[in-house]
């Protein structure tokens, strides 16, 4: 099958990660996979199954700057990739973004599966009022949303419906690691991972809770990992050196960070459509305290796989964390529960469900491999045989 990723492959991001992990898992299951994505840096290491759609250009999309790729040359490249791939099925990601996914929908005739990642209630880009976008999205046989919020965004802006298949986490990659040097330490420790200067990640709530706890626990430390400049003005000077900032971590150290603290905290205030940080922490077997936003409540099985506290309430967070810090047996029990619950989100399970979607779409479709369409839908003009190779 052919998988299309709209965003630049060499820039880290949720969609790219999802496509990469999905492709690898599908190949391990015996499928033949080709991934089409824009690649900005030609020296960036890419896997052999990746086909470049050209250099991306930065475009304001969906409230931030997306690195995408479009234009007539890209369109020709997409058509050639489809013609040469002989795919049973195309799986496009984020097809409403102005990039190669949308071009692939336009250019292809045959079974198409689409995954929607965006969960932005005010996404103007998603309101599919334009005929061009609508006619491309109409060709999709099966729509998948990665979260309930993403599904709702899709239903509100495009209509129709989608099945829910969550993001996967590579449990094996997070299961075992040594703690970072000097952690977790004797006096107990709390952990946080996420952007430090993004208020919705809730670091301020955790800092406030830490100040309350640290007064009575002289050895307690807080490990804070992630990019950005945090606002530490709420932390008194004498506690400042017990808040340890380790900055942005690479993939290996990130896994070690999940194994480095007694209690992992996810104090997010909202806006998380799924909670990938949480599933990673669960895969690492962390004892978790998380805010009770719907996404976390669902992933933690209503509190069975980790403690929940009232969102934005530092006192409640401090109380929950204190209980866990004092009770190693409870931590072990939660860790076990988390490792069990996260299996539902393992890529093995998730990719099998996605393969089930492929099977469903291919049942009753005796239509052969995906071909480039003869008619270019955006202009309505027949263009005859598909142009081989790129014209200068």
């Amino acid at each position: 099958m052919g998988i299309v990723c709209p965003y630049s492959w060499d820039v880290p991001g949720g969609v790219q990660q999802h496509v990469g992990d999905l492709a690898e898992t599908l190949m391990a299951m015996g499928h033949h996979v080709s991934v089409l994505a824009p690649v900005g840096d030609p020296d960036h290491p890419t896997p052999p199954h990746l086909v470049s759609a050209g250099r991306p250009v930065p475009v304001p999309y969906n409230g931030s700057v997306a690195r995408v790729r479009f234009g007539p040359r890209t369109s020709a490249r997409v058509r050639r990739w489809i013609a040469e791939g002989g795919f049973d099925l195309l799986h496009v990601h984020e097809p409403a973004a102005p990039s190669v996914s949308l071009l692939a929908c336009w250019a292809a005739d045959g079974p198409i599966v689409a995954t929607f990642h965006t969960s932005n209630p005010r996404s103007r880009a998603m309101s599919a009022t334009s005929t061009a976008l609508r006619s491309a999205l109409e060709k999709i046989n099966a729509r998948v949303a990665v979260s309930e919020a993403a599904r709702r965004t899709l239903v509100e802006h495009v209509g129709g419906d989608a099945v829910l298949i969550p993001n996967g986490v590579s449990v094996r990659r997070f299961a075992h690691a040594d703690p970072l040097p000097g952690w977790p330490g004797e006096g107990g420790s709390l952990g946080f991972l996420g952007r430090l200067d993004e208020p919705r990640k809730g670091l301020a709530v955790l800092l406030a809770a830490f100040v309350r706890l640290a007064r009575h626990r002289p050895g307690l430390r807080l490990l804070v990992a992630g990019p950005g400049d945090p606002d530490l003005s709420g932390v008194p000077d004498d506690l400042r050196d017990r808040v340890v900032l380790v900055g942005r971590l690479d993939d290996v150290d990130k896994v070690r960070a999940y194994h480095s603290t007694d209690v992992f905290c996810a104090p997010n205030l909202g806006g998380e459509s799924f909670g990938i940080v949480l599933t990673e922490a669960m895969a690492a077997g962390a004892a978790i305290v998380a805010s009770d936003i719907p996404a976390f409540d669902a992933v933690l099985d209503g509190g069975a796989a980790g403690e929940l506290f009232g969102v934005g309430d530092p006192d409640h967070l401090a109380a929950r964390a204190a209980v866990l810090l004092d009770d190693p047996d409870r931590r072990t029990a939660l860790s076990e529960a988390a490792r069990t619950a996260v299996r539902a989100y393992d890529w093995g399970t998730v990719a099998a469900d996605i393969a089930h979607v492929y099977e469903t779409v291919l049942t009753g479709d005796g239509h052969g491999p995906v071909r480039p369409s003869r008619i270019r839908p955006e202009s309505g003009t027949p263009i005859g045989p598909f142009p081989r190779g790129e014209r200068p």
Binding site: R152, G160, D301, G302, T363, T381
Partner: protein, 173 residues
């Protein structure tokens, strides 16, 4: 004269494109419906296999056999009700064994039921796209849809497991 001709040609292209789009939508509904029929048959067969494997209590076995057979034999007018009844029967007899299971017969029933849910969402999605396209005035006046019947949704209860989340809550979004 040339201008009128050009307009006529362009209009022709536009209308044929609209008709192609409609045709493609109807094709999408047909294949989705075939997939849904296949998924429903697979589920009923999986249920009968589970009963035949002789690992259920006699009461559950009787209920499931009756529901699965009714679902398989139902005509189009009664199919949605019969399939929903099979879902309810499964929900009662499997009583929340929604998690991973080591029993291959039970696993096949759960997998087939998931397939029904997937196929039904894709089918109804295709139906709603088609019905929306056919609401357009141009399509109605020029009868671009030809003689194709307006497709109908397939409405049924397709949940067979009791979810672990028992606390319904208002969504703040």
């Amino acid at each position: 004269m040339a201008v009128i001709l050009l307009i006529l040609v362009l209009t022709g292209f536009y209308l044929s494109w609209r008709a192609t789009r409609l045709d493609r939508l109807h094709h999408r509904v047909e294949t989705a419906r075939a997939a849904l029929d296949a998924a429903l048959l697979r589920r009923a067969a999986a249920v009968l296999d589970l009963v035949a494997s002789d690992r259920l209590d006699p009461a559950s076995a009787t209920v499931l056999t009756a529901a699965a057979n009714r679902a398989r034999r139902a005509d189009d007018d009664h199919r949605e009700l019969a399939e929903s009844a099979l879902s309810v029967a499964l929900r009662t007899t499997l009583a929340g064994h929604g998690g991973p299971t080591a029993d291959p017969w039970r696993a096949e029933v759960l997998l087939a039921a998931r397939g029904v849910h997937l196929a039904r969402v894709f089918h109804n999605d295709a139906v709603s796209d088609t019905r929306r396209a056919r609401r357009s005035r141009l399509v109605r006046v020029l009868r671009l849809a030809g003689t194709a019947a307006l497709p109908d949704y397939f409405e049924m209860d397709d949940q067979v497991t009791v979810t672990a989340r028992t606390r319904p809550r208002a969504d703040p979004d």
